[in-house]
Symmetry: C2
Subunit: 144 residues, 2 copies
Amino acid sequence: MPQQAKKAGAAKIRSAAFRRVRADHQSELAEDYVELIADLIDEKGEARGSDVALRLGVANATVVKTLKRLQESGLVTQEPYRSIFLTGDGWKMAEDGRRKHKIVEAFLLALGVSEETARIDSEGIEHHVSEETLRAMARFLVRR
Amino acid sequence: MPQQAKKAGAAKIRSAAFRRVRADHQSELAEDYVELIADLIDEKGEARGSDVALRLGVANATVVKTLKRLQESGLVTQEPYRSIFLTGDGWKMAEDGRRKHKIVEAFLLALGVSEETARIDSEGIEHHVSEETLRAMARFLVRR
DNA sequence: CAAAAAGTTTAGCATTGGCTAAGTCTATTG
DNA sequence: CAATAGACTTAGCCAATGCTAAACTTTTTG
């Protein structure tokens, strides 16, 4: 194997991790939105655009634009000036996000960090943990 | 306290986590770049744009554009057609990234995940762990 | 039930981060 | 030392995600 090819091969393997992180970022926003919408529906019976904007800390117009994309991706349905609904796929994604979120947050608490830090860090981490790591965290929760 | 204000206050607290995640994303790319550049300098004596592109898995042109921004932010210095250098701030950021990366990766390994998963997940997680969580991870590594 | 308030959408702009294609510079090598 | 190969840059495109200001609906209320 020529030196050149070996070098390229090793770099390709490394770049996979970065590619994965970039891909995660794309789904991250969608997951945050559907998870939040699911929470709002469960808490208050409906999800309004302005509640989403308030909780995410972005402008209303940003929510409108993003929801349009999520609608095209088949995650939510919405009619002008009405509240937001999740599709089957949307619920599936929301449930999955909640599941991950719960495990990560409980794990961080078990590790001994404060409630506030667990809440904040789990929000960032949940989109970057593989199923394998989630299993390891769940195992730790049971056995500790 | 009126109901309205209480609601807004609670939402504001929650939105802080999302704001933080968005802010992290901004610095994330910069951290990845400087960390990689530092690694290249240490490994091969210099960091070339094409090596950065290869390892990150992006096009050369993307690297050029990003480096221009990093130069404006005072993290790297570069002259056309020459290799890339880190400023003092750049080195500081790189060292900090490496430190976090090492802790997170070692922690995941200690938790029992595979080497490959530890490598991939730590790449995504390192930008979202607070100092408090890092301390908890370091404690776990010592005491386990 | 008309006017005002609150909520939602549209329009238009900026930045980031990705790409390809084409051009330019540097280094190697015949 | 000229030609070529490789590295780098420029130009120009696109999509995503944010914003403000203005317009439009819906809801509330006097």
